[in-house]
């Protein structure tokens, strides 16, 4: 494996009985980058992250994280990684400070360092005022900040964040991502899973997972440029009929209504997307105005998963 990479996996596979939760995933995650996992529910994001930190044993395939073989050498790795679970997993009956202090002790920090580090992360993640509050009574966003603070306390080389911003308002998410970029500047590698397009777009690299398979992988820009479909926007007075006419037609990948417009994804195979859509509508005697437009990350997602994703709300 290339030591420049934080994570490499070869044909990583995990089965739960009949279900293949992770299906021959080949990951290459460079150091000091934010790497995103984008995928619908049940696509295997959490399972992959658990495989990467050694919580699950792969059915087949191999993983190495920070040059350690996982799961065999997972114990050495634990001091070097920070993990933020999808579900809040700190102690609800301990205060913010007690939780951080506990984690600092668990990572065997000497007393002096423990004090400075807890104070530091409390400041970074704006937890000072909440120090004495029980974790169980924190709001969603405050919990996420606490979890991230706990995960970064021991300055891990690699951060694995499983949907860190679900249930967090847009402003808090922005702040959260500012924190992530700060950590990357300090040399941390971050793997983050998300449902949100806007977040995915901010990653340096992105992998789209669907049914356990990695269906796309690359920089978000590149993915959008190399998308295997054309985007046509249709404006019409009868948007429902337009949608009805276009749906299920050959080469049409999806039709999504955005207000009065319909966003239509047409397979690249067709070639002449705009005139193709216009023809279909004309033959159904619908008056509509079609024009080609630039693909978004969401279009990429829909094209590779053929599913409607959740839309980011920033």
């Amino acid at each position: 494996m290339n030591p420049e990479n934080a994570i490499e996996s070869i044909d990583l596979t995990k089965r739960f009985g009949e279900l293949v939760a992770v299906d021959h995933v080949n990951l290459v995650i460079p150091r000091k980058r934010i790497f995103g996992f984008l995928g619908p529910n049940g696509s295997g994001k959490s399972t992959t992250i658990r495989l990467l930190c050694g919580l699950l044993t792969p059915t087949s395939g191999s993983v190495s994280v920070l040059n350690y073989r996982v799961p065999e050498q997972a114990e050495i790795l634990k001091q070097k990684i920070g993990y933020m679970t999808q579900r809040f997993s700190l102690y609800e009956d301990l205060t913010v400070f007690e939780n951080l202090n506990f984690m600092a002790r668990i990572y065997s920090m000497p007393a002096a360092q423990r004090r400075t580090r807890t104070a530091e992360v409390m400041e970074t993640f704006r937890l000072d005022k909440l120090a004495k509050q029980f974790a169980g009574t924190l709001s969603g966003g405050q919990r996420q900040r606490l979890s991230l603070a706990a995960a970064t306390l021991h300055r891990p080389e690699l951060l694995l964040l499983d949907e860190p911003t679900s249930a967090v308002d847009p402003q808090t998410r922005r702040d959260f991502w500012d924190n992530l970029f700060q950590l990357v500047d300090d040399g941390t590698t971050i793997l983050v899973s998300t449902h949100y397009m806007d977040e995915a777009e901010r990653c340096h690299n992105l992998a789209i997972l669907d049914h356990g398979r990695m269906v796309a992988n690359g920089e978000p820009e590149t993915l959008m440029q190399e998308i295997n479909s054309d985007v046509v926007e249709v404006e019409s007075k009868q948007p429902r009929q337009v949608a009805h006419t276009l749906k299920d037609k050959i080469h049409i990948i999806s039709v999504t209504q955005l207000g009065a417009r319909q966003r239509v994804l047409v397979s690249k195979q067709q070639g002449e997307a705009q005139s193709y859509v216009q023809q279909l509508l004309d033959s159904a005697q619908l008056t509509a105005e079609c024009h080609a437009t630039h693909p978004s990350l969401e279009d990429v997602f829909v094209t590779v998963t053929c599913k409607q994703p959740r839309t980011g709300d920033i």
Binding site: R50, C53, G54, L55, L56, T57, P71, A74, E75, K78, Q79, I81, Y83, T85, R87, F88, S89, L90, Y91, E92, D93, L94, E98, F102, M103, R105, I106, Y107, S108, A150
Partner: protein, 367 residues
């Protein structure tokens, strides 16, 4: 085995902080011993006394009245009604009004002189085996009574009375055993639930992703509860002393040492349960699966000697059996811990085996 004191201390401190806030558990620590000792101490009373009785005294002589008075003095019977015939006694028995009927025939004094026939008849409600055996011992008294009547020697009457010790003998016997029963129940449950709860709440997924080792986690979970267990021992002993005048004939230190080992044994067992159980409900069920045989087979409820061989073998595996012998030995017979070393070894071995099993079984994995 990886053991860092810093991490162990982290787990310890966290457990204590959580316990301090868990009012229900805290209430159980004090409440369970309090409730149980009051319930058991007063209710479990194997020396049966104050049975309701009736007499059909057809002889009605000085001697027959003395017999009834002596029986009353044993405190086994109480509230003697007077009726005329055996048939009336039978009716009262059938109705459940009395537990014992005493029929003294008209020729009672003459019968006392002959040894061929019993002088009087006891009619016993045998539906409760403990009552039956108690009442049967009354018939032995009647024999002594007959001898006493022959030579009129009072000391032999006193012999009978001594046998029916009016002291609360069973409280003395029950309270030390209660220490074992209460510790078995609370200690196993506390640790059985301790890890399962962390798993249910999702804490474990984070915790096993830190450098903390299984040994640190297990030991850190056990130590606070050892202290809690010892506090419970103190509560039970104090209540036993003040409420039931239970003596501590041996050394108090020995009581604590024996309890300490016993607590460790139960806590390790709880840890084994928590590595097997999937949720708190299962943990609780497994605890009771273990608790019942401990109660029934350890000698707490029934004498160990009277049990069939198979039950005795099972009982030898249970920590409570060994603790029962230890605690009764120390508190009642005034034995020293060194005299009971076999029982101590048994508990230590049990602890080592279960603890190792728990540590081996607990994987820092999710699958």
């Amino acid at each position: 085995m990886k053991l860092s004191l810093t991490r162990l201390f982290a787990i310890l401190q966290k457990e204590v902080q959580q316990l301090r806030r868990d009012r229900l558990t805290f209430g159980m620590i004090v409440g369970i011993p309090l409730m149980q000792i009051i319930l058991f101490g007063f209710a479990i009373n194997t020396d049966v006394r104050n049975l309701s009785a009736a007499v059909a005294d057809q002889s009605n002589t000085q001697l027959s009245r003395q017999l009834v008075a002596d029986m009353l003095a044993t405190q086994v019977i109480d509230r003697v009604q007077h009726v005329n015939t055996g048939a009336q006694l039978k009716t009262l028995l059938d109705q459940g009004d009395i537990k014992i009927g005493i029929l003294i025939p008209a020729d009672f004094e003459r019968r006392l002189q002959q040894s061929s026939r019993p002088a009087a008849q006891l009619m016993i409600d045998g539906s409760d085996p403990i009552i039956l055996s108690t009442a049967q011992s009354l018939t032995k008294m009647s024999f002594n009574q007959r001898n006493a009547a022959k030579s009129i020697k009072p000391p032999e009457l006193f012999e009978v009375r001594n046998y029916y010790n009016p002291e609360r003998r069973s409280a003395v016997f029950v309270v030390p055993g209660l220490i074992g029963a209460i510790l078995t129940m609370t200690m196993v449950l506390f640790t059985a639930v301790a890890i399962v709860r962390e798993r249910e709440r999702g804490n474990l997924e984070l915790l096993i992703n830190t450098p903390v080792s299984t040994t640190e986690l297990m030991i850190g979970k056990i130590i606070p509860y050892i202290i809690i267990g010892l506090i419970q021992v103190a509560i039970i002993m104090l209540l036993g002393m003040f409420l039931f005048h239970v003596p501590v004939n041996g050394r108090v230190l020995d009581v604590y040492l024996a309890s300490g080992i016993f607590i460790a044994a139960n806590l390790s067992l709880g840890l084994v349960i928590s590595t097997v159980a999937k949720n708190q409900f299962q943990a609780m069920q497994l605890t009771f699966f273990f608790f019942l045989p401990s109660l029934l087979l350890s000698g707490f409820m029934f004498p160990f000697e009277g049990m069939p061989r198979a039950a005795q073998i099972i009982a030898e595996i249970l920590p409570m059996t060994h603790f029962m012998r230890l605690i009764r030995g120390i508190m009642l017979r005034g034995a020293e811990l060194s005299q009971l070393s076999m029982e101590v070894y048994a508990l230590v071995i049990f602890t080592i085996i279960t603890m190792s099993f728990a540590i081996l079984r607990f994987k820092k994995r999710l699958d």
